[in-house]
Symmetry: D2
């Protein structure tokens, strides 16, 4: 998260947002945000969202996730918005959408994630 | 790939490997390789593997992938090994395993990916 | 669909619903709807949802999907509700939720799917 | 499994096979095995494979799975072959391939699954 310049811009029970300003060194050959970076912010948003509903002193780990890359990830910044679909004692299922945001603040959906997080005591 | 120091260490029709030396700034809070980085090298290996079977002048994009994170990603280096399962004119399905490699060269499977790549003419 | 008694109960551009009454022979050992049946109605709903946005004379096929089984699939009937997230010329990405419905009509989310459909001319 | 006529044809620690003879009422509009049935036998094979490595008196449930449908599912019979990739105390990750088998016994890969199973005590 620090390496890429992302920050947790919203955090509420079961809901989080991560914001990432565009940087050329995070882009692939066409200037769009690299799929690995898109995935990183989506996964981080999912992990934090799950974590907000876990007991104190627990730890969250990603078990697995699936990402659909929907459009070229272009934008001045990127927003990963995650929400918990089902919180469980052990496993929590989370969905995240990643948006490219242009200079006028217009959002375009560029990727969506569905993932499973585990709570470690 | 350059940002993180990964390199394509093997490339044959339908099969590729990507190698990544460990770096502390690619790790998460426990010192293991960040899931986003694990995913990035797996996705890149899948993309190149699909690309080897596509016609000249085509371009490859990741449509979607699923990753299972199996163990803490520890190692002195990491190896993402991808192989095409089904090559098609439009879509190619690829599997990748990511291994942590210790100082003796012993490999441990840390993640596995199943993904779909698309060929753009 | 006929074998299991499911029917398309709603169809609009990019949105569909499939309804399935409970039947004991569709259940697994604990009396809940079998995961394969849950998946079948979700996949069918996704396919139809994608199809509504495709040109005449095209055909839809499932490329891949991921399902999270969230709770035991209990209910007097089941509802799979699908919506297109991104429609493309070739690929369409669809999300579906499957609900168990009790005798009072109360819905409980039992599974969620994220899948990719392809349009064949 | 009984409804569709599938049977567990091989079971060893971490490895299982399920066999399903073709039946017209399990097919979709083109006469190929319905994706939901392909998924059902793959999921069942994964569940049993995980179960072979779990302690006595435990129970196995599918947490989630992803399927790639690679080719039209044609054959006189179908074989779902599953193997455990990583067995854990709580979660077990399993891979399955589904083959169509023709009258000469030739196999063709028609689908592949990657899934996560949970052990309930």
């Amino acid at each position: 998260m620090e390496l890429i310049g992302a920050e947790l811009s919203r955090i509420e029970p079961g809901v989080t947002e991560i914001t990432l300003p565009y940087r050329a060194d995070l882009a692939q050959q066409h200037g769009y945000l690299h799929a690995g970076i898109v995935t990183t912010i989506a996964d981080s948003a999912c992990g934090y969202a799950a974590y907000t509903l876990m007991p104190p002193n627990s730890e969250v780990l990603s078990v697995e996730f699936k990402v659909n890359l929907l459009r070229p990830a272009k934008g001045e910044s990127f927003l990963a918005a995650a929400e918990v679909i089902k919180a469980g004692k052990t496993l929590t299922v989370v969905r995240a959408d990643v948006f490219g945001v242009d200079h006028q603040g217009e959002r375009e959906l560029v990727a969506t994630m569905l993932g499973t997080m585990i709570c470690l005591a």
